[in-house]
Subunit: 417 residues, 2 copies
């Protein structure tokens, strides 16, 4: 005789979606629509756009070497403000609501301040607030608490996406809607390829590759979490009419995608710099001698290619690092020249990594080979190649970015209407 | 054989003292001085000046009738930011420090959101942080937590003073230094009387009367708390040279003030409006008929004077209300005209209450009478008088404010060097 369990839903709104009170009122209308559709709703909000940057700048002004625990206390305040304001705006249109800070739920994290990982999220208080008080839960994203020290933590840039997916998993939500300033995930950057199409569905694995490739729609960790917990996640626009929004792009298991393309999307990243060490002694431990010092300096090495050079006792090693770490990486390696033993160090900053992603690659041979030929036909020189099960990437001169992206977009049939 | 217990100290800095990073660095220098003098230091900070007003304006924009629980979540963020920034600034000059939010200490309050009262403050975590880690505790003022609901609370405007005194009591601090933008408590407003002197010492009871009279140096509740817990409290300036600050004014028990003046200070408040009801029926219950409805409307009635009018069956009743409630009070009383039964209602908004305060009044007769004569000699008409054990107040036309304050300041010998 008990009433059927209500379905629950997580809605996440980023900084541009809550940039001012008018935008917050607009968010309240989106939430109202879902409440009226019969959902228990948890809303996760970011700081008002610009706020986090301002707070970070203050921390830097206070000390170049600021304590990350204090940084967390300072920057977490941005989301706190938005959560309270949205709760008020919801109440103002007749929707019961209350704000929740990360420590009130609680969202327990490790103590990696500034980029903490969620260890445990108990959804029971939120679910109790749904069932006994019928309240929308307005949750400050990005925040957690380290249990042993009782100190505030934050999840790193874009961490509110991760908060949202974790909460969806914690309350068993039917889905997680990530509202942003674009209306979905596209086959590639529409600024480069006007024929780029919004994807209806993307597999988790594909989205992971796209997210890490610079398609800045979703934080990588949030996609990992959604994949692990199988949370169907929509990317959609908060700028749509709240009364009649578009569906956006669903990120889901590949088993839920009936008509699978071979290639789903083309991504590119300009945040790459290439370093080549020529004529490195080809002996055991040489890779460690190069890459351990870079790892110790917190430099994230991406593509690594080793090619036997013209004489057989040495080898050429090429790899990429983030542009911001380029000079630092070169300095470290120049200092290690005698230890490593190489002839010359060459670097290039004007490179781009272009990638094609699709779970369909698993079952189709020769997908990448066709790309190499097409790029060569256009006179584009490939500096390096890496491949994985569901993607391949080429490193090329950045002047060819647009041409390469358009070429691959056409090649894999993504242009069609 | 154990080391002697270190003495502890609370330092509180208001909004203008932490208005920007330069001011916060200046505060860090003040703290450093006390650390080097051998104190365990707890610092209590307000929000950067202007911040709280901005946050309150956002709440109002979100809804005219905003939920005070959400208001608390929003406005408490201002102090959170300052606490983290000051902790970073202290670390930057080599002082160990960490920030504490009200809920981390915890400071337990009732659930009167927006003006909560502290119920319990356990100083043991702070003292542990002193003794085991030698850290300065940088505490976000103004904040508390309601234990049963786990929700953030705030202590009302000026609540950081109350936080500071409560913490001083909770950790058994030797004293509580309230740093502000003035260098102490003066015999009266120096803008009106250039000869006004900074007081070396003021009794708690006197400060209570001065605080509630519009000498806006300290929040009334913080003085009450200091008096109850006998916390010696200094009012001093954060704009002094941190290396050589002036002592400010000590607020302490009157037993600690050796040379007691009869009158310590002259205060005035323009936030008063006068209402007089003429020819009210002089019968039991008439005061209740007037003042209960005003109390129900949350209107704070101050001076009340009842005078028998020319005929013996009626009486005139005069009282004051805050200027902001003047129109509302008149409307309520006009609506109750037939219930109360009065002939006319007269109101005046251009009035001021001038008060003379001093614990010495207790042992000296005729102190107030001298004032009435002096004011009459200057042609100042007294509309109403109230007296208490350690103060008397006169209500006069506001045009005479300066003249009355100067007259009383001279009369009681406060002008002398």
């Amino acid at each position: 005789m008990s009433a059927p369990m209500k379905k629950s839903l997580v809605m996440k709104f980023g900084g541009t979606s809550v940039a001012n009170l008018d935008r917050i009122r607009n968010v309240a209308q989106h939430v109202k629509r879902e409440v009226e559709a019969g959902y228990d709703v948890a809303v996760v909000v970011s700081a008002m756009s610009g706020k986090t940057n301002e707070l970070v700048a203050w921390c830097k002004d206070a000390s170049a070497l600021y304590d990350m625990r204090e940084y967390d206390a300072v920057v977490a305040s941005g989301e706190q403000v938005t959560s309270g304001l949205l709760a008020i705006a919801l109440q103002n249109i007749g929707i019961k609501a209350r704000s929740w800070q990360g420590w009130q739920i609680p969202i327990l994290t490790d103590d990696a301040h500034g980029s903490a990982r969620i260890l445990e999220l108990d959804g029971s208080r939120l679910m109790d607030s749904f069932s006994t008080r019928g309240e929308v839960a307005v949750i400050a994203g990005f925040q957690g608490i380290h249990e042993a020290t009782g100190r505030l933590t934050t999840l790193g840039r874009g961490g509110s996406d991760t908060s949202a997916v974790a909460i969806a998993a914690g309350i068993g939500a039917e889905r997680c809607d990530i509202y942003t300033d674009v209306d979905g995930v596209y086959t590639t950057d529409p600024r480069i390829v006007p024929k780029a199409k919004r994807l209806e569905k993307v597999a988790f694995e594909e989205m992971l590759e796209m997210a890490s490739m610079g398609a800045k729609v979703l934080q990588v960790r949030s996609v990992e979490l959604a994949m692990t917990h199988r949370v169907p996640t929509y990317v959609r626009s908060s700028f749509d009419d709240p009364a009649d929004p578009k569906p956006g792009t669903l990120i889901c298991g590949e088993e839920d995608i009936v008509e699978q393309q071979i290639i789903t999307g083309i991504a590119y990243s300009k945040d790459e710099a290439q370093i080549t060490l020529r004529r490195v002694a080809d002996k055991p431990g040489i890779a460690a001698a190069i890459f351990v010092p870079l790892a110790d300096a917190n430099i994230n090495v991406d593509m690594i290619i080793q090619v036997v050079s013209d004489d057989t006792t040495t080898t050429d090693i090429t790899f990429t690092v983030p542009t911001a770490d380029f000079e630092r990486a070169k300095t470290i390696l120049e200092g290690l020249r005698s230890t490593i033993g190489y002839a010359t160090l060459q670097g290039a900053n004007d490179v781009v990594k272009v990638s094609a992603i699709g779970v369909g690659m698993r079952s189709h041979a020769g997908v990448a080979a066709r790309a190499f030929k097409s790029l060569a036909d256009k006179g584009i020189n490939i500096r390096a190649i890496t491949t994985s099960e569901i993607k391949f990437s080429v490193l090329i001169d950045s002047a060819y970015t647009e041409l390469a992206v358009r070429t691959l977009h056409s090649l894999y049939g993504l242009d069609q209407a």
